[in-house]
């Protein structure tokens, strides 16, 4: 009876897994997206570096079938299941992600994502790249961001401008904007996503306690959130003195029990020196006393 139960559970699980694997549907308009350039061997090499750094921990090495044991299984990207998908579909999956696969929208630039696909395709001898997309044929919105800091309100103001077909530039409303601060290993998002208003403005409150460098400078960047990849966007980047000035002393600066030589605590140095002086002083005193006894003896004779 137990075994039957186990079988039922396993069966249900396997159905669940296949269903969940199938539910990652890519919108039809995304499937037709093509790379903006022809793949070159240099791009494949760049893509390999990015793949090894960001993808290999789950997907394993290409063609080796040594992907990580996860649910749903990540699979080997050189195999048919991945290779039969058009470029646009792969690009969409890399961009958007689906747990446990991370979204690479803010981690890899668009070009970098295409390079990874170029690398993947290098394992498919049957692959023929479709003609690259050109800017002229781009049908979506072309949005450029601009960033300013409002000193009075302590806010970061992002302006979105849209380039129209006739070359005119107008304020872009309804664009989702994300604000990031550069940190050592990546970009830290500040606040939530904001949608630009009628004047093309998105206003972010900047946290006062976010550490900057010694002078309080932080590198702030604004990016358009475009999960469906329907816009051509240019972000804004600026170094502003809006962080909390941070100049923490190095961890070996103070005197410590574990520090060497000159950096030992004063009381240790004093106690040690004093005890050495006392011990040697005592020895010298004894020797001196012995000599004095001899002197007295001589005089007496």
């Amino acid at each position: 009876m137990r075994f039957i139960n186990l079988f039922i559970i396993l069966y249900v699980c396997s159905i669940g897994m296949t269903v969940s694997a199938q539910t990652w549907v890519v919108p039809d308009d995304q499937k037709t997206v093509v790379a903006p350039f022809l793949f070159t061997p240099e791009m494949q090499k760049q893509g390999e570096q990015i793949y090894l750094k960001n993808c290999q921990s789950c997907h394993g090495l290409m063609g080796k079938d040594n992907w990580a044991k996860l649910t749903p299984p990540p699979g080997d990207l050189s195999k048919e299941l991945a290779q039969k998908q058009p470029d646009g579909e792969l690009f969409y999956r890399i961009t958007v992600g689906k747990a446990p696969m991370p979204e690479f929208r803010n981690i890899l630039s668009e070009d970098e994502r295409w390079w990874v696909i170029a690398y993947m395709r290098s394992y498919n001898p049957k692959y023929i790249q479709p003609n690259p997309a050109t800017k002229a044929s781009f049908a979506g919105r072309i949005v450029t961001l601009d960033m300013k800091y409002d000193d009075l309100g302590k806010k970061v103001v992002v302006t979105a401008n849209e380039e129209l077909k006739d070359g005119q530039s107008v304020h872009a409303a309804g664009v989702e904007v994300a604000l990031f601060v550069k940190r050592f290993f990546g970009k830290l998002q500040v606040g939530e996503l904001k949608t630009t208003n009628d004047k093309g403005l998105a206003i972010f409150e900047f946290p006062a306690d976010l550490p900057g460098n010694k002078e309080g400078y932080v590198e702030v960047s604004a990016m358009v959130n475009d999960p469906k990849n329907i816009m051509k966007t240019t972000g804004a980047i600026a170094t502003l003195a809006i962080g909390k000035p941070t100049d923490m002393p190095s961890l070996t600066e103070g005197r410590a029990w574990w520090a060497t030589r000159g950096k030992a605590p004063v009381w240790i140095i004093l106690t040690y020196t004093l005890s050495v002086i006392i011990v040697w002083g005592f020895i010298f005193y004894i020797v001196y006393s012995i000599l004095k006894i001899r002197k007295v003896k001589k005089i007496n004779l």
Binding site: K69, L70, R183, T260
Partner: protein, 323 residues
């Protein structure tokens, strides 16, 4: 006892007093002359040094092939450090302005052991040698078991550094505790002092010793490993120098590790590459340290193993596919 016991007669002491006064005056005179001469010498030396900087005098040096050559002193430059010398000195200095910190989210660890293998590959370790190990824990008979990766805690008050008699293990300004295997004498005091059992000892010839022979020793990688010396987790100091996350952090498939700079108040997840605020992460998830009561001030934080959505399994079959 009679008068003979008195050491000096009154006449003698009077005479001695006089001679002392004379001696004193003589000595004072000598000291005065001495001080004047010394000052003059110092001053002329200063003048000489000052002149040298302007004119640049000629120095006679011995070249590598044994010839004597004359070179202007202004043109003499110290050689740039290269090879092992550079690795040692940069390994002591660290990366300025940083305070590295590791956060381990126990609720996500499924004992995939990718961190262990990545670490062992990087640091030339045998399969039974661990810089990081995943332990299977159970706090009380009634509570659920969980997996706990355990690294060196890179304490801000490191007992291992206190006991090292040869300055082989040391704390860096950026918080990392490292070992210089060239200095290590293998006394293992540090192993005894460490309350986290983070250190290992090369009892036998390290793995692939032959292929690493003659390589420059990198103190930030502990490679080549040396027989009869200590090794331990280094927070992948060599990777941090390149701006990359540590080996274990990058290798984790389950998003367990966050690594970053405390001064920036930000940590980055090795799997999702998402950057979050350190203070918020610790505050929202009840972050804690291992054995803080010892006063070691660890640089590794743990997030409690709450809301685990998978069963506890033994090492190696922690994957649903195999079930």
């Amino acid at each position: 006892m009679d008068d003979n016991n008195t050491p000096h007669s009154p006449d003698e002491s009077e005479d001695q007093k006089n001679s002392t006064r004379r001696n004193f005056l003589k000595n004072l005179g000598l000291a005065g002359v001495g001080v004047a001469t010394g000052a003059a010498a110092l001053y002329s030396g200063h003048i000489f040094e000052a002149k040298k900087e302007v004119s640049g005098d000629q120095k006679v040096l011995l070249t590598q092939d044994g010839k004597l050559v004359q070179v202007d002193s202004l043109e003499i430059k110290a050689l740039e450090k290269t090879g092992e010398e550079l690795l040692i000195s940069q390994g002591r200095e660290g990366i300025p302005g940083r305070r590295w910190v590791l956060v381990i989210d126990l609720s996500k660890c499924r004992n995939a052991r990718k961190c262990i293998s990545a670490c062992q590959d990087a640091h030339q370790l045998r399969p039974e040698q661990y810089h990081v190990n995943v332990l299977q824990m159970k706090d009380a008979p009634g509570t659920a078991p969980y997996n706990m990766p355990k690294h060196c805690q890179h304490c801000d008050n490191p007992p291992c550094v206190s006991v090292c008699p040869v300055d082989a293990t040391y704390k860096r300004p950026d918080g990392i505790v490292l070992i210089d295997n060239d200095r290590c004498i293998g006394c293992r005091f540090c192993m005894a002092a460490c309350p986290y059992s983070a250190r290992i000892f090369n009892w036998i010839e390290p793995k692939d010793a032959a292929s690493h022979q003659g390589k420059d020793y990198n103190v930030e990688l502990n490679v080549p490993q040396k027989l009869g010396t200590i090794s331990k987790c280094l927070f992948s100091a060599d990777r941090l120098r390149e701006g990359k996350l540590p080996y274990c952090v990058e290798a984790c498939p389950n998003g367990v590790y966050y690594f970053g700079d405390e001064n920036e108040d930000a940590v980055t997840n090795g799997t999702t590459k998402e950057t979050v605020r350190l203070s918020k992460l610790l505050r929202d998830n009840g972050g804690y340290q291992l054995m803080p009561e010892l006063g070691t001030k660890p640089r590794v934080y743990y997030l409690p193993p709450k809301n685990r959505l998978f069963p506890f399994e033994e090492a190696g079959d922690a994957t649903p596919e195999k079930a």
